[in-house]
Homo-oligomer: 346 residues x 2
């Protein structure tokens, strides 16, 4: 980067002014954005949805291989995804940052460029936040407000026995993208080269994009609405399919059967799993960060779902006493355990 | 503490269950709290307010002398204070935590006990959050939702020339409390004693409480409503009186005169400033963390304000060309500068 301005030169308020000036307000429900003690929102006869995510350097991201602009984009997207997973529409975000002294103003501009792009793509207003120094590393906390009609909101607890279990897109790619980035970063570190980290990722663009620049599945939510399908339960796949399935089963008081050969997996994901000598199904079930939508629909929606592009039926809901199981290709049943991403594992 | 449970024993979801189970929902506007992708709120014909604060260990708090329960209480209160400063009522919070490995489950229980107490005292619901490991130190990010009738909301930009400038309570005490804690902590460190840090704070309880357990001025907002006073502008004093006055002047396009001898200062604050050989007015103007309300009212509310307990008129709003100045006891005018707390200062 050409310019390098120390954040202390601008101070907190100067930094906030600079970061928030290029976020024009887009939503009628945003009455007042940044610049007072609180933002002012109006949801009229609709329900307000609120979700929040905390991202910490060294835990959730590694700046050695994640560009700041991508990080900003992803930090916003993961919150939008939670609102879509309620069958709502994201409308506002607040962004709080903790910034250590190794970051310049231009670094934070990059991060915000990503946040701004995500806000533009999804029609969301930035309405507030808090900006502070941090002792170590970058801290990003984003809270997202969304709206939905009361009757449209889809919770986790509505799945019923015989409901079909569906998932959008494909799974495991973001996880394999992360494995690839980590390996290449290690290789670069071991080579001792002082050149910037620029490995050859030809042919692996898809899994990298899934890790670095995920999208929220607004299109799937809109398609479901258009087809007149109202899911009985829905979640986004952030921790991993296993973990999310168990959340739905627990909240709905049901069991489930999903079929190994029905789990949607992209070709590049499969190639990378083989290269890394990893179990492909484990990666798809437990990898996480896919931000696809997992949802259940009544059996009678079978034909409508079959016609939908990019949505796959992977199993069905059962009575609770049958537990949650994966049916393997050879017909064996394996109990599903939450091996999803756990930040507290050692 | 008797028990000591490693957080990894519970895992993220176990920890969340444990932390959030003792927060019964209190507000009609809270349709769904913790446990789905997003909380669901309903504000009917009212406006929703949203504010957020990020607190980082080593920047905003020092656990050598801040008990975790107090920290939790304060972290919630500072958000409530922002909602009251809009003339609104706080209703919901989300709490995100980053927790390093030196914290046990019991530590986090303590922190949450403080948050719970604040929620009980102010009638606020906990509706969500995010919990994660952190590489270093404790990270607390709280977002607060509040509500207000559209016509009741008070912004920063409504102050008009001749308006009276008022402040609740007294200023500088929280800052002097912090000085005291830091000094005693240094003394304890230098003595090399292995006993727990237990200095004698007799006679200094007030300034310590102002630092460790501040309150949000709900009572002042309620009193103003009762007296039929609608402030033309309002803010809470978090960064310091100087900084907040300049925010109001900038947002409203006005100037101001405040009088040194009108600034409310508690006796203990004055004693400590003398003990530390600090300028008392500087401490009161720039100390910050008072969480008092600074507001302006039309001149015609003069008599009503004079009758209010615990509210002091400290000056008046002027035309913008007169700038913002403090009139000293000897009648000199000193330009007000924002020397408030700046996390990016070196």
């Amino acid at each position: 980067m050409q310019n390098s301005t120390e954040i202390s030169q601008l101070g907190e308020f100067g930094l906030i002014d600079r970061l928030t000036k290029d976020f024009p307000l887009k939503n009628e429900s945003t009455h007042k954005g940044v610049g007072d003690d609180a933002a002012v929102l109006s949801f009229g006869d609709k329900e307000a949805l609120v979700t929040t995510d905390l991202l910490l350097e060294g835990i959730h991201f590694d700046l050695r291989y994640v560009p700041l602009k991508h990080l900003g984009y992803k930090a916003a997207i993961v919150n939008f995804s939670d609102i879509y997973a309620m069958n709502g529409t994201p409308k506002q975000i607040t962004v709080s940052l903790g910034i250590s002294s190794r970051f310049t103003v231009e670094h934070i501009d990059e991060l915000y460029a990503g946040i701004r792009l995500a806000c533009e793509m999804y029609g969301v207003d930035l309405v507030g936040g808090d900006t502070s120094a941090s002792v170590t590393g970058l801290v990003i906390s984003i809270t997202c407000l969304g709206e939905a009609k009361k009757e449209d909101i889809v919770y986790r607890d509505g799945a019923k026995p015989t409901d079909l279990i569906c998932v959008s897109g494909d799974l495991g790619a973001a996880y394999m993208g992360l494995q690839l980035l980590e390996r290449e970063n290690q290789v670069a570190a071991q080579s001792g080269s002082k050149e910037p980290f620029q490995p050859d990722f030809a042919g692996k663009e898809y899994i990298l994009e899934r890790q670095l620049k995920p999208e929220a599945r607004r299109d799937v939510v809109e398609q479901l609405r258009k087809e007149g399908i109202r899911p009985t339960s829905m979640m986004d796949v952030s921790d991993g399919l296993s973990s999310e399935l168990l959340h739905i089963c627990k909240a709905s008081g049901v069991g489930c059967r999903i079929y190994e050969d029905r789990i949607p997996i992209d070709y590049q994901t499969a190639v990378m799993a083989e290269e890394f000598n990893m179990n492909l199904v484990t990666a798809a079930m437990n990898g996480g960060e896919d931000y696809e939508l997992l949802f259940t629909v009544p059996l009678t929606d079978n034909e409508k779902i079959e016609k939908m592009q990019g949505v796959r039926m992977i199993g069905y809901i059962t009575k609770p006493e049958l537990g949650a199981a994966l049916v393997t290709r050879d017909g064996a049943e394996m109990q599903i355990r939450a091996q999803g991403w756990n930040a507290f594992e050692k």
